[in-house]
Symmetry: C2
Subunit: 363 residues, 2 copies
Amino acid sequence: MKTLPKPQSGAGAAPAVPLTAEELQLASRNHAMPLEMLAVDRTPAGMHYLLIHFDVPVIDAGAWRLRIGGAVRHPLEFTLAQLQAREQRTLAVTLECAGNGRSMLEPRPVSQPWIHGGIGTADWTGTPLAALLEEAGVEAAAVDIVFTGADRGVQGGEEQDYARSLTVSEAMSPDVLLAYAMNGAPLPPQHGFPVRLVVPGWYGMASVKWLTGIEAVTAPFTGFQQMAFYRYQASADDPGEPVTRIRVRSLMVPPGIPDFFTRDRLVESGPVLLRGRAWSGRAPIRQVQVAVDGVWSDAQLDPPDGEFAWRGWSFRWQAEPGRHELMCRAMDAIGQIQPLEPEWNVQGMGNNAVQKVRVTARP
Amino acid sequence: MKTLPKPQSGAGAAPAVPLTAEELQLASRNHAMPLEMLAVDRTPAGMHYLLIHFDVPVIDAGAWRLRIGGAVRHPLEFTLAQLQAREQRTLAVTLECAGNGRSMLEPRPVSQPWIHGGIGTADWTGTPLAALLEEAGVEAAAVDIVFTGADRGVQGGEEQDYARSLTVSEAMSPDVLLAYAMNGAPLPPQHGFPVRLVVPGWYGMASVKWLTGIEAVTAPFTGFQQMAFYRYQASADDPGEPVTRIRVRSLMVPPGIPDFFTRDRLVESGPVLLRGRAWSGRAPIRQVQVAVDGVWSDAQLDPPDGEFAWRGWSFRWQAEPGRHELMCRAMDAIGQIQPLEPEWNVQGMGNNAVQKVRVTARP
């Protein structure tokens, strides 16, 4: 790292250690939402974050079927048209990758090296899962519902279709959708065409894309993505706690204009309206604060935008000429608050530490 | 219990030196096309590559105007509806970032660290620029036409709107479009909504997004993106040659299934159909070859897909059990051929060296 040209002023979001070639490959494939897109309520499909473990499958919607089986009294099979003919519901949902913020941990867990952009908010349209499970008649002995996607590959030395589970009661939540549209259009291939799960409030790993099967099982699901990955591990031999709902977080639309390379910001001094979004998968947002050079003040909250979408906020900053560091942090209604420094864990999951934005105000 | 994957064997596309935090920020913002998308003729909007120097501007299409001025007899101004009411033309065009492949150069130029994915092919619909320039009456003294976008920022210490020029004769080509649709839908914000330039055959920097102004000038344009960046420089004090048309290149759909972390591929031994795409901005594709463990054979070309889109190819590989290295290379009708090793230049432009894909065939 020391052989490379010095960062002109160092990036605020600097990973502490250099990246491997493998991480660059992952960063290149797994798209982040550019933070200026925080300015719009609904993230356009091509700007929404993507975390794709294996390859994007190319699926023929006509031949596609969704099978619901396992410990159910009436195994079911649906075509896309049959799902689309059922009760339709649209929810605005903020999705965030569980590994968002990973590259800011130290030591840095080596995987998809997210900075801040593993997020997005879309209108997801589909049919509630609960009614299908009721129709299938989940047996009393079932404990988990396993969702399997069409994307296949090797992770941790294990060949697998991407699969995750919810408990039966989690799966029966009225808000869990089998979604076939995003922002009013059919799902793009990379977002799970033709049908994906959307689990509002949860980190994105629960919202299995390219769904092919739903299976009720009578013993807890132990698949790789459930038991080995997506865990809060304190050390490598700690089995860890499962990653579930999204931790409280806020981000700021980077003010002014960027430097191409450092992404540092330049504004005119004087009044600057700072805007951003805040969200929590556990409770409504209660408060957002903004710090200018370490001094915290309350931001103004926009009206809420449904139960599962991020909430806008704004703050009027009187920018004095010179260099500044801006931060924002949110608190939710159950009192969770973003930490100032990251809380480390082995896999780099759930880092909701406050964002720092470097801004120069021109005289 | 699996813990974090160790870099197993280094990726085929390994950058020679570690990345800076700034490059990670750029890799995260500037989306690559995942290579499995080579399987489809037209790249969906969210999978097409993006290189955005500054921020994605959010533009009100109703208030937007395109001004054509400078050394013209009749300065013109158009609304979006007025442009859409003119002659409409759709072209399938492969666009590639001039810096595609940069991270594989050694020493590695420090900028957006593309591996292979700075590409995409879309149907672009718009109105030919030539007719508008004729209507405006470009004066005989004009030498360049300057295209300015709404994205503004600082690069190389210079504050600027992104701007590039073409010579008058290049701009008068019947294939240059003012495009307002991509794959049959309005441009997404990140692809230049509401109107962008599309210059078929040229590297992507020429196809200015978020167009606001077109100006005929009587002295050669010397803007940053024309004279300082997008140059083939042999050394830092070499003014260099301008980057213009796309060099011949081919890429392969990665066969089989990937490893999450290394992206190395796993196939069953036996017959494997390799597929890919080849393109050149200078002439039609004449030949594609595939190498299996260093032995080259001819691939089969699909029919051409218009003058400006990539051309499909395929190759039947009989995979023996074990580890293999696959490569592909293309030659165009004027005899340009991809080099086996990258040709270095200061900015890391136009690296069209052959792709290497590591595959393990299972017994």
